[in-house]
């Protein structure tokens, strides 16, 4: 094995908790709940005695038998006029794009008979390159959310659009007449047409109001002196400081676009750019390109952060810092890179932080023009320093593009505060709220709710009755993005179209059309508006012959690249000394808090989406909750339970910030900076259905730092409180301990040493040692040679396989939700996950390292966790073993092997013995304990329980019933479709024709899928690569899944485990 590091799946495993070990030995820790059932007091309450029961039983058996003999009459209803493009049973793909002010991606939507069922990335896009994340591909489910508003509301009662329009127009006219104030509050708008429309609305209401429809209705034309109209952008997670700092540093109040693909050295300070920061899909797509070890250079990534973020977990070097130390860290970087000697404040030298900063800084300095430092601090002073460093490193023009800024995150906190001030003073006569939920997401100190009550007339465009819209006078519900026309300009010059893929499901109306209607242009639809915009503004930038050609191409491709500037270097003009002084002046308290965004819940807009709630957090692997993350060593000091499992629930803790406090369960995360805690935002929603109410809302805790909204809270108290809380985590789902699970090595070893040294005993055996076993004669044999079984004919014809690059897999979870969408995987809810009954066909295992080694410390010491460990991720799905242990134990041959290398699961043959799950070494088989589509327990959880939610199901994949086993099929429905296409088109199956749901949605293309017998295919090439290995190769099951060794970009010495006995002693 390459390194002597050991990975554990959880702290319980590391600490060899006897309870854990006992439960880990069992495939299903839960006994069947027979006792629960028999002890149910409801049973005694019934008057049915045994004889009656038998009568009922006899009758129902008889009735069922009779009913079974009757022919069911199934109606088949064709179209009256079939749309030309729809062929029943054949999917259509439409290019559109997703943006909610947090995420952006150009996507393709697969529709079946007019229903959108799957979202994948659009590879035509230069910005997102075919990537997306879990929040984006799960948004197809929120289309079918029955909690969405079914029509407009006035004063909380259902209304019709006409009444609403009349009321809004009347109110706005009144404001106009008296020359009052109108404000539009929205999230950052990526849509140039929408921005223009709102501007036009301003000039419409601002000047003397000419309202054609009003004239028709006989109302008097307003002759008001004009209103004070303003559009204010507001984002719950603010990037205001970046805009401010760019204004100070370069005189441009914008957020630049970042090009991680050009960066040889990346330093992230708090910025979780893989999962959340700015355009996460673009970032991870670009960054992923630089993480292949065989290209000319592989990027080196340093991360300094408080919480263990997804980005930090993927870094080559990670330093844990307190939020209050960010200023000091950045100043140290500035000093080291420019040679200045600004007073750099103090930081506690924990986890060799000074050394790590010095190393990172020197490397940044060595790579001018190929380095990048990014920071998520919302302190403008810190951002000025970051700008100064980037300017010095010549990042502008190569890794940072200030000339083509992004239009995401445009909110200015000062302007939002100004608006609240106006509202409080009663100056605002009418407020239109579009795409944001400020009552939920603003800090309590801003008092938005109170301010809102003083606004004359409030209208919301929210799709749900939410915390804000419930307080508004009227709600004009917006379409879901899959029902809308729109356009987006994510980065200057890079446009994309958003086209509807389904007619509106409810009586909603696109917000822009509401605006048009209120402006008296009810007869103009937004589609025409966008077309005109594109015709006038964008077509001249193309070389198309005529608008028809131009427009059709844009709608077909989904994207259009127009005029954009060549990125240039810029001159930094900010005041560094002052900024450094202010940035380092922040003092932290005993405890500090860093609020963060989760890969699933985001800012809380997706709280009602059960796929995202069930998606485990990539790092903690907890589902369905937010919680306080704390370093286990701190937890031990506070006397909190670290070994959280089904029967040992988490303890509650309390975080007190100023006059506010929040009580949540505490969850151990090694790598969390000691004496800090993290809490995720986006939970504890109200009014959006039961699912959204989970957890607590911590947005109100946010504070202001140097005038902008900060998610870092520098002075807090943290204490243990009374009570426990059950948590649902997937991390103890299955155990794969102490062997070559994730093969990892460092760059130096990878480049200089052989992959495998046969016969090497007790010394270096190669960084990807070929596993051999001794045969009866004591000879070393590979597992292929030590073969007990007859081989399947997988060498002939097709052989489907998959290869997963652990270097570019960042663990984001886009594949997990994509798999759930493609394969109709049921949502089972928190309680079932707690019983280890998750149904996900693929999981992304996360392992922490320990510093101890077997040779020096022995197994017991190895069980002591690192305080600041390395982290690795590994997607695990059915390995489609050619000698599958599951196949041999099935008593009814429900799981068999195909000659194309697939391990087939036949649901209709399965009788549910679960022997196969028992015998599966990878623990990837899932048993349907319930009929999740019908059983009352899952009523509020499983979206397929109502007919609307069922519309997202993939009609090519069967919905499994209770009592059968299921598992990854390698998207056999897609394989069959590709083969059929190839046969019809008389050509070979190539990589372009075929993608599994997971490989389809990976933003970094970390999964290669195809025919292993085709030498042209990527999976063939990857499988032959020196880095490739099989998971648990020693058991000889010969999987069709390969993993590519993870290479950390470190030297051999740096990758050595360092023993920190004193730290270890401080542990439990």
């Amino acid at each position: 094995m390459s390194t002597t590091k050991r990975y554990w799946q959880s702290i319980q495993q590391l600490e060899s908790d006897p309870d854990f070990i006992a439960s880990a030995e069992k495939e299903f820790p839960e006994e069947l709940p027979v006792e629960d059932f028999l002890n149910n007091s409801d049973l005694d309450a019934t008057s049915t005695n045994r004889r009656d029961f038998l009568k009922f039983l006899g009758f129902s058996v008889g009735a069922a038998t009779l009913a079974a003999c009757e022919t069911p009459v199934i109606k088949s209803i064709p179209y009256v006029v079939k749309p030309y493009e729809v062929i029943p049973g054949v999917p259509n793909h439409y290019a559109t794009s997703y943006s909610d002010g947090i995420d952006y991606s150009s996507v393709l939507v697969r529709t079946r008979e007019g229903r959108p069922i799957f979202i994948r990335g659009n590879r035509e896009s230069k910005i997102t390159g075919g990537g997306l994340n879990a929040r984006i591909n799960s948004s197809v489910l929120s289309l079918y959310d029955g909690n969405r508003l079914r029509g407009p509301q006035i004063g909380g009662a259902d209304a019709d659009w006409n009444a609403l329009d009349v009321q809004v127009r009347e109110k706005l006219r009144a404001v106009n007449a008296k020359g009052g104030t109108i404000r539009v509050l929205s999230h950052s708008l990526l849509s140039p047409s929408t921005r223009k429309l709102i501007q036009q609305m301003g000039s419409h209401f601002g000047g003397s109001m000419v309202d054609d429809s009003a004239a028709e209705e006989g109302a008097e034309l307003s002759t008001g002196a004009g209103v004070d109209f303003k559009h204010v952008a507001y984002d719950a997670v603010s990037y205001s400081a970046m805009i401010e700092a760019n204004e100070k540093s370069f005189g441009r109040a914008v957020i630049p676009s970042y090009h991680f693909e050009n960066a040889k050295v990346v330093v992230g300070i708090g910025a979780d750019f893989i999962a959340n920061w700015l355009l996460p899909v673009t970032n991870s797509h670009g960054f992923g390109k630089t993480r292949k070890p065989d290209r000319e250079w592989m990027s080196r990534h340093y991360q300094f952060e408080t919480n263990l973020s997804l980005t930090g977990a993927n870094s080559d070097f990670r330093g844990a810092i307190k939020p209050s130390e960010v200023g000091a860290v950045v100043t140290r970087f500035y000093n080291a890179i420019t040679g200045a000697s600004l007073p750099a404040g103090t930081i506690e030298d924990e986890n060799d932080i000074e050394k790590k900063i010095a190393r990172a800084a020197s490397e940044l300095r060595e790579n001018p023009g190929h380095s990048l430092i990014v920071c998520d601090s919302n302190d403008p002073n810190v951002q000025v320093l970051v700008n100064a460093i980037n300017a010095k490193l010549k990042s502008y023009g190569s890794t940072i593009d200030l000339d083509n800024p992004t239009s995401i995150r445009q909110a200015r906190d000062s302007k939002v505060k100004e608006l609240i001030g106006e509202m409080k003073s009663g100056k605002v006569d009418a407020l239109v709220i579009y795409g944001s939920n400020p009552v939920y997401s603003m800090p309590k100190s801003w008092g938005f709710e109170e301010a809102l009550s003083k606004v004359g007339y409030k209208v919301s465009m929210a799709s749900y009755v939410d915390e804000t819209s419930i307080l508004c006078d009227a709600i004009a519900p917006d379409h879901h993005f899959l029902e809308s026309w729109n356009d987006h300009e994510s980065v200057k010059g890079h446009y994309s179209i958003c086209q509807p893929t389904i007619s509106k499901l409810f009586d909603t109306r696109q917000a822009q059309e509401s605006f048009l209607s209120w402006m008296g242009k009810a007869d103009t639809d937004f589609y025409t508006y966008i077309r005109d915009e594109w015709k006038n503004n964008l077509m001249p930038q193309s070389d198309a012959n005529g608008f028809f050609e131009f427009w059709n191409k844009c709608v077909h491709d989904g994207v259009f690249v127009g005029d954009h500037a060549e990125p240039t270097e810029v001159v930094f003009q900010g005041d560094v000394a002052q900024a450094a002084k202010a940035a380092t002046s922040i003092k932290g308290g005993e405890w500090e808090v860093q609020l963060y965004m989760k890969a699933g819940a985001g800012e809380g807009t997706h709280a009602a989406n059960p796929w995202l709630q069930e998606l485990p957090d990539p790092v903690s692997r907890v589902t369905w909750d937010n919680y306080i993350t704390m370093n286990p060593s701190d937890m031990a000091e506070l006397g909190l339970n670290i070994k959280i499992a089904e029967k040992t629930p988490a303890h509650l803790g309390k975080v007190i910030v100023g006059d506010q406090e929040v009580e949540l369960p505490v969850y151990p995360i090694p790598g969390q900076r000691r004496k800090t805690v993290g809490v995720a935002v986006g939970y504890g929603r109200k009014h959006v259905g039961k699912i959204g109410e989970i957890g607590k809302n911590v947005f109100p805790l946010m504070q202001e730092v140097a005038g902008s909204l900060s998610m870092a809270l520098f002075d807090a108290k943290v204490e243990k409180s009374e009570g426990t809380y059950p948590m649902a985590s997937l991390q103890t789902h299955s155990t794969m301990m102490g062997r070559k699970i994730i093969n990892e090595t460092d760059m130096e070893t990878y480049k200089n040493e052989p992959a495998s040294v046969p016969g090497a005993q007790g010394q270096f055996q190669g960084w990807n040692q070929k596993i051999t076993l001794k045969d009866a004669y004591g000879q070393d044999k590979t597992t292929e040679e030590l073969n007990l079984w007859d081989d399947h004919a997988i060498g002939l014809g097709h052989r489907w396989g998959m290869a997963i690059d652990l270097n570019t897999c960042f663990g984001c979870g886009a594949c997990v939700t994509a798999c759930a969408a493609e394969n109709n995987i049921p949502v089972v809810g928190k309680d079932e996950i707690r019983r280890t009954r998750s149904m996900f066909w693929m999981r992304i295992d996360r392992y922490f390292t320990s510093d101890a080694t077997k040779e020096e410390d022995g197994y017991v010491a190895m069980e002591t966790p690192s305080v600041y460990p390395d982290v690795t991720f590994q997607p695990v799905m059915c390995q489609h073993c050619n000698h599958a242990p599951c196949e041999t134990v099935c008593p009814v041959a429900a799981t068999t092997h195909s000659d194309e290398g697939l391990n087939q699961m036949t649901y209709n043959r399965c009788v549910g013995t679960r022997y196969c799950a028992n015998n599966c070494p990878y623990k990837v088989r899932r048993f349907n304990w319930f009929n999740y589509m019908g059983y009352a327990k899952f009523k509020d959880i499983n979206p397929s329980q109502d007919t609307l939610g069922r519309m997202v199901l993939n009609p090519d994949v069967v919905v499994r019933s209770r009592g059968v086993m299921e598992k990854c099929s390698m998207c056999v429905q897609r394989i069959q479709a590709a083969k059929l296409q190839a046969k019809k088109e008389k050509r070979k199956v190539t990589d372009e024709m075929l993608n599994a749901a997971c490989s389809d949605s990976c933003p970094t293309d970390a999964i290669a899928f195809g025919d292993v017998n085709d030498p042209e295919s990527a999976v063939y090439k990857w499988s032959k690569d020196a880095r490739s290995y099989h998971l648990l190769e020693e058991i000889g099951v010969q999987p069709n899944i390969w993993y590519q060794t993870k290479i950390r970009n470190r030297t051999k010495e740096e990758n050595m485990p360092t023993r920190k006995k004193d730290e270890a002693a401080a542990e439990v």
Partner: protein, 441 residues
Amino acid sequence: MQPKNISMRSLTRQSSGTGKWLKCFLFFILFIATPFYLLAEPPAGATEAQGEGLFNAKCKSCHYLTAQKNTGPGLYGYRERVPNEEWLYKWIRNPQGMIKSGDAYANELWAAYKPTLMTAFGTLTDVEIGSILIYLDNNTVQAEEVVAKDPKPTGGGDPQEGESDATSLIIWLGALALVFYVVIKVLGLVKTSLINLDRTGKGLKPKEDISHIRSAINWLANNKKYAALIVLVIVSVGATNGWYALKGVAVYQGYAPEQPIKFSHKIHAGQNAVECVYCHHAAEKGKSAGIPSVNVCMNCHVAIPEGSLYGKEEIAKIYKAAGWDNENQRYTGETEPIKWVKIHNLPDFAYFNHSQHVVVGKQKCQTCHGEVEKMEVLAQHSELTMGWCINCHRETKVTMEDDNEYYQGIKEDLMIKHRDLGLQEFTVEQIGGLECAKCHY
């Protein structure tokens, strides 16, 4: 066109002295040019066989080969009617465009057949259209004896005939059984009387009159071997029948429900020989064959308001669904989908793709659906059980065309795989067609 014009111009300019030579030249040019206008050569590669196939697939549903009008004009003598052959090519590819372009004959047709417009066949190549024209040239006739135009099936119709045969057979058998019973009874009485007579004659008591059941039981009690045999036969027959009855649960072979519209496949697919895929066009493209949408019915029925079997009644239902006001010849916009009863129901857990079988496997629709063109009321022809699928997969040979790149390599691999049997051709089973995940996922 060019040479002709030049010669004309030269003719007018020249004196009569050179006239003769010029006349010869002119004739020569005309001789060369004429076929292009009057008797244009069909494009190379066009064949009558191809034309027949294309005609049946694309044209037949609206055009007769005679002078008789169908949805579209009868094609007898079409060449005399159209301006030239080039016009035909254009018209077939884009009738609407022709009408819009103001073409005289096109507009004449449009006026005559409004609102029915011929379907555009933009994808037909020159060769294909050429083939159709060859086929038409050789096969159009002025009028044709209409064969077997039998509007209503009478007592002589085949299904009824079979049924009445069976019924009369049962009646005859019943009568025969009755006669036998009477004969046996009478003989039995005669036998008893004789025995009793004999016994009285010998001074014995007459035999006790016991019931038949009693006597049967007595007989069985005295002949235990036979009794055992009879019980065995009864049990085995019962078990066999029970087993088959159980196997028949949820098998709806012969299922022929009443449909909302009495649509006759016999008339459409049989008499009128409309190709199956004209209506069930998705069969070649995707998973489901598709029940035709109402607008497909209207392609023809916009001009056929009366059927031969049920008159106007059933077609009126189509008009209602399509929102067609036949009196005023216009669409009202008030549509209502037809709720057909689905006949062929596969369970959800079985995946079946029509295009796989029809296009790739080149199966005829009739292989599974039976002789639909003879069915007045459509019935499920096959069992649609897994055993039935499997049998076909075991027996059917896969056609691997040499020009299909997909099979290159795969065929060689299969020959290696089955080298023991020395096979050159493979059944569906041998290419993996019995593997579970080919149909179940």
